[in-house]
Amino acid sequence: MPEPLLDRQFLEKLERLTIYWQKSFAGLVGGHNPSRFAGGGQEFLDHRNFHQGDDLRAVNWRAYLRLEKLFLKMFQIEPRVPVQVLLDSSASMGLGDGVKFDYARKLAGALAYVGLVRLDTLTIVPFSARLGEAKRCGGGRHRFSPVATYLERLQAGGKTDFYEIAKEYMSSRPQRGLLIIISDFLDDQGCERALQYLADFGHELSLIQIWKDDDRVPPWAGELELVDAESGQEMRVEFDDAARAEYTRQFDEYSAALKQLALRNAGRYVSVSTSRLLEDVLFDDMIRARGVA
C-alpha cells in the first residue's frame, strides 16, 4: 500500500493553522478576514447618501421617517479571498530522486488542508512551460482526499518559463487573490520580472523556494560536464572550493533578491531546504514569515 501524501497525525496538527494574507480584495464576500470595503456583510460599517440604482433593501427607513432623507446603510463584508497555489512541476523539481517535487507536493497538500479546514477556497495550479490542469477545492476538511489524490498523480517534467506562465495566468484568471508559488525558481531566464508582473496585477505573493543542499552547495569537485535538467544545455567547468564558494554566494544572492521582491510587494518569502522537516517549516518558518498564522 503506497504511503499517503500526509499522514493523519500531521493533518491533525495542521488544523490549528490559518492561511494568512494582508491585502483586502475588492468585490469578494465571505471568508473570515475583515475588509475595508462595504458590502453585504453582517457588521455595520457606515451610512451614505442614497443614489439612484442603490439597493432599496439597504435604505435606513427609520432615518428617512425622522429626517425625510434617504440614507443607505453600509455593511462590512467578510471576503472569501481566492487562494491560488502555483506548484512548479518542471524537470528541475524532479531532478535526481525527485525529492524537491515530493517536498513541494506535500507542502501544497498541507496548505490545501489548512485552507479547507478554514473553509477557504483554494486552487492548485501546476505549471512548467504552461499552466497545467488546475484543481479547485473547498468546503471543508472532508474534501481533502481528492486533493491528495490529485497531488500524488502529478508528475514533474518540462521546462520552466515564468514569464509565459505569468502572462497566461493573468489572462486566464483575472480575479486577484493570494498567490502562493511553490517552486525552486531556478529559471535560467530569471523569474523576478514575471513575479513583479503578478504582484503589480494585484495578487498578494507568497513565494516558497524549495531547494536541495546540492542546489546550494554542489558536492562535486574537479572537471565537470554539466547538463541543464530542463533545457539539456551542456557546460564544462573546473570546479574547486573557490568556485563552490562563489556558486553558493550567487545562490544566496538570488534567494535574497526573491525575498526582497516579495517583501517589496507586501508579500512573503520562505526559503525551504528539503533536508528540513515539513512540520518545522510550517510551524516555524511559515509562521515567522506570516504565511500562516
Partner: protein, 613 residues
C-alpha cells in the same frame, strides 16, 4: 636482500601492473564527470570554462605518489623480502621436554623438577639461532607435539610454561625417534634437545638412540624415594568374606631405607609392616581384610619423601555378592551341608507346606515336592524311571553325562513354555527350571535316596542350579592397583572382552598370547570384563622409572655456549614494509579523501537577509 615469495622479475611485473592500474584509476577518478543540474545559472557566474589541455593534468600529485608508494610497499611486503644470505637455510630444532610423572618430584626444600626443566628449556630456547624454527615435544610414555616448527619464540615459551608432569614414565627412545621423523619431514638439519633427568622405563632400548645431533640438558635429581608400585586385591579362597591384599613397594633411591607400610579399611587400621629395603629392592607384603560391605582400602608409606605421589594409594573394595535362596524340602538335612559349604550362598530351608504363606520375593529350589504344593504341575509319579538324560541348556546341564543314576521314585512334571527341563527320563522331565523375576527350580526326586546319594552328578546339579540362579555371585572379581601407562590383564579363554573406563567409554586393547594389553596415559580406573571374570584396574599410581638413561657418545651436554643470535640468518623485513605501506595509504586518506569530504560536509548556512519593507 632476497624475496621469499616472489622473484625480482615477478615482483617488477606485479608492481608495474598494479602501478598502471592505480594511475589509471587515479586519472579516471579525477577525469571529467557528467552531472545533471537544476540550472546552469549560477555555474556560469561562478566558473570559467575549463581548458581542455588541463584534462590530463595530474592534480594533487602528492596524493598519487602516496597511493603508489603505499601499494608498492604492500606488494613488497607480500613478496616477503629478507635481508641476509638466501642460502643459509634455517635449522629445524626439536625440544623434548620431560613431562613424565617423575618430574613432579620435589628435592628437599626445593621446587618440582619440572620447574627446573622448564627454566633450562627456556634458556636453551634463548640460545637457539634466531632464524631456526623450534618444535616443542612433551614426552612421557607418549611423545606429544605441543607446537609445530615455530619461528615465533613467544609461542614456544608459552608452550613450555604450560607443560605439566603427566602420570606415566618417560619413553625417551620413542620421543627422540618422533623428533627425528619430524626433522626429516622438513628436509633440513637441526638439533634435538632433551631437557629432563633421564629416568626412563625399563622397556627402552637405549642402544638405538644415536647421539648425533642430540643434546641433553640435564635436570639434576638426586632424590631418595620409596614408593608403592602396585597392589592387588582378590577374594580369599581360604576364608569366607575375606580379601587378600598384596602390596608391592620399591626403593628407588641409592641408600637403604626403613619405612612403615600401613593398610587400613574405611579409616580403620588393618595391618602394618616395617620394611627395610635395600637400594633398588622391591618387596611384597600380604594382608587380609575382612569386609563384606564395600569400602575404601588405603595403603600408605611413612615417613613421606620427595615424591609423595606414590606414598599413598586408595582402592575401592566392592561388596561381596550373596545368593539368597529358599529351599523347600521335607528333608533339609540332606542338602544343608551341600548348600552351606559355599559362603556366598545364604539358604533358608522350609517345609513345602509353608510355601503358601510365604512372601515369594526370592529364588526357590524345591526338592521332591508333594503333588499338591508343587509350583510346577506334577503329572504323575513313577518308580524306577529309566533313561535319564541331561539337557545342556543355559549351563544347567554342563558337565552332566551320568546315565546310570537310579532315581528310585520320581515326579514327572508338566512344563510350560519357557521352562527348562534340566533332566528327563522316559516318562518326562524330572528336574525343571523356571526362569522369571524369581527363578524356581523343581527337583522331582530325593537326592538323599540310596540310588542318588553317592552320585557325583547330584552336587554338580546343585552347583549348576546355583550358578544359573545368580551367575554374578560366582564371577571371579578383583581389583588391581597399579601405575598408569601400559597394563596387562589375563585373558585365558577366547571370547568377548570389554575394556572400558569408569564413565563407560571403551578403551582400545589388543590380545596377545592370552594376555590383554591396554594403555592409559592418565590416572583413572578401567574395568576389564572377560567371560566369567571382571577385574577393576585402578591405574592411579604414577608410573615410575625403572632405570637411568646414560647418554651415548656424541651427545652434547648442557646449554649451547656463545650461541649466535641469528646475525647470519636472514631477517624478515615484511612487517616493517607493511606498516610503512599502510602508513602511506592512511596519510593519503587523511590529507585528501577525509579532508575533501569534510570540506564538502561543511555547508555554509544561508546568509540571513534583512527585511527591507
Amino acid at each position: 636482500m632476497f624475496f621469499l615469495n616472489l622473484g625480482w622479475g615477478e615482483w617488477l611485473i606485479a608492481a608495474g601492473a598494479v602501478s598502471a592500474f592505480t594511475v589509471a584509476l587515479y586519472l579516471l577518478d579525477r577525469s571529467r564527470r557528467r552531472q545533471v543540474v537544476s540550472t546552469l545559472r549560477f555555474w556560469t557566474q561562478a566558473n570559467q570554462p575549463v581548458q581542455t589541455s588541463r584534462r590530463r593534468m595530474i592534480r594533487q600529485p602528492l596524493s598519487l605518489l602516496l597511493q603508489l608508494a603505499g601499494i608498492l610497499l604492500l606488494l613488497l611486503a607480500i613478496a616477503q623480502p629478507r635481508i641476509g644470505n638466501p642460502f643459509s637455510r634455517p635449522g629445524y630444532d626439536v625440544l623434548i621436554l620431560d613431562t613424565s610423572a617423575w618430574m613432579s618430584a620435589r628435592p628437599l626444600g626445593g621446587r618440582p623438577l619440572i620447574d627446573t626443566a622448564r627454566r633450562r628449556a627456556a634458556e636453551w630456547l634463548s640460545a637457539v639461532p634466531a632464524g631456526d624454527r623450534v618444535m616443542l615435544v612433551r614426552a612421557d610414555a607418549l611423545a606429544t607435539p605441543a607446537t609445530a616448527f615455530e619461528s615465533d619464540r613467544s609461542r614456544v615459551r608459552a608452550a613450555i610454561a604450560a607443560s605439566e608432569p603427566g602420570a606415566t614414565a618417560l619413553d625417551l627412545t620413542g620421543a627422540i625417534q618422533f623428533a627425528r621423523r619430524a626433522q626429516s619431514m622438513q628436509h633440513a638439519g637441526g638439533e634435538v634437545a632433551y631437557a629432563g633427568s633421564g629416568r626412563v622405563r625399563n622397556t627402552q632400548d637405549a642402544a638405538v638412540i644415536d647421539g648425533k645431533g642430540l643434546r641433553w640438558i640435564n635436570v639434576p635429581d638426586q632424590i631418595e624415594n620409596v614408593g608403592l608400585r602396585s597392589a592387588s586385591i582378590a577374594r580369599s579362597p581360604a576364608e569366607n568374606g575375606a580379601w587378600d591384599v598384596l602390596v608391592t613397594t620399591r626403593n628407588y633411591g641409592l641408600r637403604a631405607h626403613t619405612v612403615n607400610l600401613t593398610v587400613g579399611f574405611d579409616h580403620a587400621p588393618v595391618g602394618m609392616r616395617v620394611l627395610t629395603m635395600a637400594p633398588g629392592a622391591e618387596q611384597e607384603s600380604a594382608f587380609t581384610v575382612h569386609a563384606r560391605q564395600a569400602g575404601l582400602l588405603e595403603a600408605r608409606i611413612t615417613p613421606g619423601d620427595a615424591f609423595p605421589d606414590d606414598d599413598r594409594a586408595e582402592i575401592l573394595i566392592p561388596a561381596l555378592p550373596r545368593l539368597q535362596i529358599v529351599v523347600y524340602t521335607a528333608h533339609p538335612e540332606v542338602v544343608r551341608p551341600l548348600l552351606t559349604a559355599n559362603a556366598l550362598v545364604e539358604a533358608q530351608f522350609r517345609a513345602p507346606e509353608q510355601y503358601k504363606g510365604d512372601n515369594h520375593n526370592v529364588d526357590t529350589i524345591w526338592i521332591d515336592p508333594p503333588a499338591a504344593d508343587s509350583p510346577v504341575r506334577v503329572v504323575k509319579t513313577v518308580r524306577d524311571p529309566q533313561g535319564i538324560r541331561w539337557t545342556p541348556e543355559d549351563g544347567l546341564g554342563a558337565g552332566l553325562r551320568a546315565r546310570d543314576v537310579k532315581l528310585g521314585a520320581a515326579s514327572i512334571f508338566a512344563t510350560n513354555p519357557g521352562d527348562i527341563a534340566v533332566a528327563s527320563v522316559d516318562d518326562g522331565p524330572v528336574i525343571v527350571a523356571r526362569p522369571g523375576k524369581q527363578k524356581t527350580v523343581v527337583i522331582g526326586f530325593d537326592p538323599g535316596a540310596a540310588g542318588t546319594r553317592y552320585q557325583l552328578a547330584i552336587p554338580l546339579v546343585f552347583a549348576n542350579i546355583l550358578r544359573w540362579i545368580n551367575p554374578q555371585a560366582f564371577q571371579h572379581s578383583g581389583v588391581t592397583l597399579q601405575a598408569a601407562g601400559s597394563a596387562l590383564a589375563p585373558f585365558p579363554d577366547d571370547g568377548p572382552a570389554e575394556v572400558k573406563r569408569a564413565d563407560g567409554t571403551p578403551v582400545p586393547f589388543t590380545v596377545d598370547h592370552h594376555t590383554l594389553h591396554f594403555f592409559s596415559g592418565s590416572r583413572q580406573s578401567i574395568r576389564v570384563i572377560t567371560p566369567g571374570r571382571e577385574q577393576d584396574y585402578a591405574l592411579t599410581l604414577p608410573e615410575m622409572w625403572d632405570t637411568r638413561w646414560y647418554p651415548p657418545v656424541g651427545v652434547i651436554r648442557g646449554l649451547p655456549h656463545g650461541a649466535s643470535n641469528g646475525s647470519d640468518a636472514p631477517r624478515e623485513v615484511w612487517p616493517w614494509l607493511a606498516i610503512l605501506g599502510a602508513a602511506c595509504l592512511a596519510a593519503e586518506w587523511m590529507l585528501y579523501a577525509r579532508l575533501r569530504r569534510a570540506r564538502l560536509k561543511a555547508v555554509p548556512a544561508p546568509v540571513p537577509l534583512r527585511r527591507v519593507s
